[in-house]
């Protein structure tokens, strides 16, 4: 097959000492910025753009890609250790990962996150190489109407995320949707709920909310108790997952990988949804539903695998069409453009070195990340033994730096503080942060695609049912609702919703 020859060619390029070096730099930097709360790949790559001027385009791209997926690995670290998700994909990881850490199982949680990510990344890399072109054509079937229906499905499935009250979960989802509407409306340019504050004109930042509602609120809660305690409730038991852990996590990794690979191909919302979807799915099929929300290892393995698989397959639109599906990849296109290469639909034939070299480097990068991350597990877990009175000011400091670096604006720091207080109130009343954040992330996608679809159909709502994919997705929504509402299977619903 041609693909093997091409892949070999790609490995020959990616495994050159220079490119290996840049892959390592990218992976290391990515891990670092993933661990530092707030500082994300977009800011980092923007800062590094001038450096890439003097590199070969392939090396530059390999390094930038390394930063991107390195951040996916690193982002889960803070989510697990201090309940501080750095990006949308690690919000779900925080739910069970942090609980594992509190039970002294931070080691296995971190390790399974790295292992799951590696397996998912390897599988997704092969998928990109083999099925890139047909997957692109499939993703092209997704127009505004399909996206809208997919987001509806995502929201309905999201209610399952809640481990407590369903009513409260629905409330949180809607509050999230509402928060997501803050900012300038893209169709009319009208500012909504910005109160004349220019910093709000582009909406509230995801990191701002996640950091406040999860991280800061957790710190406030911990400070209710005496300062001498650490994050840990119990003694640390083992750094690596046991055989039982692996058995529990394996099917979750497999399902998460498949789900993440599929959703990752959809530009825009896909990758965001994958971690949430994988978690919901795992919770539904798991035999130990009661464990979810209290430190289920499958609840860490599934979303981590899904988000890494999604991160890899989200390269597909960029590699096959030359269209960047997210902000990070738009920056990569910029880096290439500065070199005089504008990626397009012919990138595979015109720039085979770039195309296959990047794909091969993705796999090499994943190997490097496992090698970097597994030995670090011990170090991270040690960090938890630092007395809390020293740990929490450090976390706050890094949060402050990270969030300031997003827009170089002090406003964001105050916003994080405000959301921290808000998150604390939510915690006190037993509301959960995950559905809120999912609603927030999906809100613009839901609204914009609804309006886009209706604009294109000149206001005809039937468009959602006339298009087969959209209709199917909506049918699944209805099916889910029916299952929930039918009395005969009410006992089943109890199982899904109430794990107490």
């Amino acid at each position: 097959m041609d693909i093997f020859a091409n892949l070999l060619h790609g490995f020959a390029i990616a495994a050159s000492p220079l490119n290996l070096f840049f892959c390592l730099i990218g992976a290391l930097l990515g891990t670092l910025i993933g661990v530092l709360p707030g500082i994300g790949p977009v800011a980092t790559i923007a800062m590094l753009l001038p450096i890439t001027f003097n590199l070969e385009p392939v090396s530059a791209l390999i390094m930038l890609a390394g930063i991107f997926y390195g951040a996916q690995y690193g982002g889960s670290t803070t989510a697990i250790l201090v309940n501080m998700p750095g990006e949308a994909s690690s919000v779900v990881t925080a739910i069970d990962g942090y609980q594992m850490a509190r039970r002294g199982r931070a080691g296995p949680a971190l390790a399974i996150a790295a292992i799951g990510s590696f397996i998912a990344g390897s599988f997704a890399t092969i998928l990109v190489a083999v099925l890139g072109a047909p997957l692109t054509r499939a993703a092209q079937q997704f127009g505004p109407a399909e996206y809208f229906s997919l987001m509806v499905l995502g929201l309905i499935a999201a209610i399952v995320l809640a481990s407590g009250s369903v009513i409260k979960a629905i409330g949180m989802v809607f509050l999230g949707l509402l928060l997501g509407t803050v900012g300038t409306d893209i169709e009319t340019g009208q500012e909504r709920m910005t109160f004349g504050i220019p910093e709000l004109s582009d909406g509230i930042g995801f990191v701002t909310i996640a950091m406040g509602v999860f991280g800061i609120a957790e710190i406030l809660k911990n400070l209710e108790q005496t300062l001498s305690r650490t994050v840990l409730n119990q003694k640390i038991t083992g750094l690596m997952p046991t055989l039982r852990d692996m058995k529990e996590a394996a099917p979750a990794i497999a399902r998460g990988t498949v789900l993440g690979s599929i959703l990752g191909v959809l530009p825009g919302g896909g990758a965001t949804l994958s971690a949430f979807a994988a978690y919901s799915l795992e919770k539904k099929v798991s035999k130990n539903k009661a464990e979810f929300g209290r430190g289920a290892i499958a609840g860490v393995a599934a979303p981590e695998s899904a988000n890494n698989a999604g991160a890899q397959t989200s390269f597909i639109p960029l590699l096959t069409l030359g269209i960047p599906p997210n902000a990070v990849m738009a920056l990569m296109v910029g880096a290439l453009t500065i070199h005089g290469i504008t990626p397009g639909p012919q990138v595979m034939t015109k720039q085979p070195d770039l195309f296959w070299g990047l794909i091969a480097s993705m796999w090499i990068g994943n190997v490097m990340l496992v090698i970097i991350n597994l030995p670090l597990v011990g170090l991270w877990v040690k960090l938890l033994q630092v007395p809390y009175r020293l740990l929490f000011p450090a976390i706050l400091l890094f949060c402050g730096i990270g969030v300031y670096s997003l827009n170089n604006s002090a406003f964001d720091i105050f916003a994080v503080a405000a959301f921290g207080l808000f998150g604390y109130v939510l915690l006190k009343f037993g509301f959960e942060g995950a559905p809120l954040l999912l609603g927030f992330v999906l809100s613009p996608l839901l609204e914009e695609n609804l309006r886009r679809a209706l604009r294109l159909s000149r206001g005809d709502p039937w468009v959602f049912l006339e298009r087969p994919i959209s209709a199917t997705l909506l049918a699944v929504c209805v099916l889910l609702l029916v299952i929930v509402l039918l009395p005969s299977i009410r006992s089943k619903r109890e199982e899904v919703f109430k794990e107490e």
């Binding site: 753009l49 639109p317 269209i323 738009a330 296109v333 504008t342 397009g344 639909p345």
Partner: protein, 329 residues
């Protein structure tokens, strides 16, 4: 670095400042530290790429690094406001384009800067021509396409990258010139819009050549026409709108380096000279040409020469966009 020289320079600067007043002395020693260049859009876009290529070369002539800072958001207004309010000392410059410095006047009722009086142009950095592209299967020749748009105004839709973006501005001008009114569909940026055009979700859009050339050459979208008076060397077969019935149609996204109003003349001259030097560098010229950027002529590069073009564009397009009824805010 060269410590003694820097120190001597500083001593000299202070001495001179004491004797002659700060202005001219500072200008003599300018630039003494890195210069920030605000690009009011996300990194990686056409304006950003252009700014980075040119300022990197300018850094060499100035002997100081020019650091690009991307301050995106709200149609570029957030970054431009920051640039307008910066100290007029030549250490904070702003890259503006046709959107931020012309169409925003019409789009924003309470624009917090005056593009003409708050800024002093240093030099044009290059013009990004635009291409009208349609989904595959649309009528391919310009007259057929224009007839198609005129006949099916109620059914067609065009895409753009957001209110006030280059693609939005150009489309408003196109519709004003053709006397048509077509439903718009807004996206967050060029990428998602192009994705949906390739998939055939909407009918056409007008975007910067840099963004669409590869798609046109790859056959994923249909190139209809160029928006500048001359054809582009990269796609010589593509006619211009001006030669195909829309006489005089000329829309291109100029990008210009601005300093805040009140910047001392010697500093402006120094920066202008550095920009002119960069534009004369064959390596830069090759690079910009590869990116389909039109390089300003020597006459256009003269300090202050840009003001006339700016004023002409404001006079020409602001009423057109106002008449189209588009607003932001």
């Amino acid at each position: 670095m060269n410590q003694p020289t820097t120190r001597r320079a500083l001593v000299g600067a202070f001495a001179a400042a004491a004797l002659l007043g700060a202005g001219p002395a500072l200008a003599q020693q300018y630039p003494a530290r890195p210069i920030t260049v605000i690009v009011p859009f996300a990194a990686g876009g056409p304006t950003d790429v252009l700014a980075r290529i040119v300022t990197q070369r300018m850094s060499r002539s100035l002997g100081q690094t020019m650091v690009v800072e991307n301050v995106g958001g709200a149609g570029g207004t957030i970054g431009v406001v920051r640039g307008a309010r910066a100290a007029p000392d030549g250490y904070t410059l702003t890259v503006g384009h046709l959107g931020t410095h012309v169409s925003n006047i019409a789009l924003y009722r309470r624009l917090q800067y005056d593009p003409q009086t708050d800024f002093e142009p240093i030099a044009p950095l290059g013009v990004n021509p635009m291409i009208l592209v349609a989904k595959r299967g649309a009528p391919a020749t310009v007259p057929e396409f224009l007839a198609h748009v005129r006949a099916n105004q109620e059914r067609l839709s065009y895409g753009h990258a957001g209110i006030g973006s280059a693609s939005h501005t150009a489309a408003l001008m196109f519709h004003a010139a053709t006397g048509t009114k077509v439903q718009d569909v807004a996206y967050r940026g060029t990428g998602p819009a192009m994705n949906d055009l390739v998939a055939g979700q909407f009918d056409y859009m007008i975007d910067q050549a840099l963004n669409v050339l590869q798609q046109v050459q790859g056959g994923t979208v249909l190139g209809i026409a160029v928006t500048t008076p001359e054809r582009l060397p990269q796609v010589p077969n593509l006619p211009t709108l001006a030669e195909s019935g829309l006489t005089g149609f000329d829309v291109a996204i100029w990008n210009t380096l601005f300093a805040p109003k009140g910047t001392p003349q010697p500093i402006l001259e120094r920066l202008n000279a550095a920009a002119a030097e960069a534009m004369a560098d064959p390596a830069i010229r090759t690079r910009l040409t590869e990116l389909a950027v039109q390089i300003p002529s020597e006459a256009e590069l003269k300090l202050g020469a840009f003001k006339a073009r700016h004023a002409a564009d404001v006079a020409r397009w602001v009423p057109v966009i106002r008449a189209a009824g588009a607003t932001a805010e």
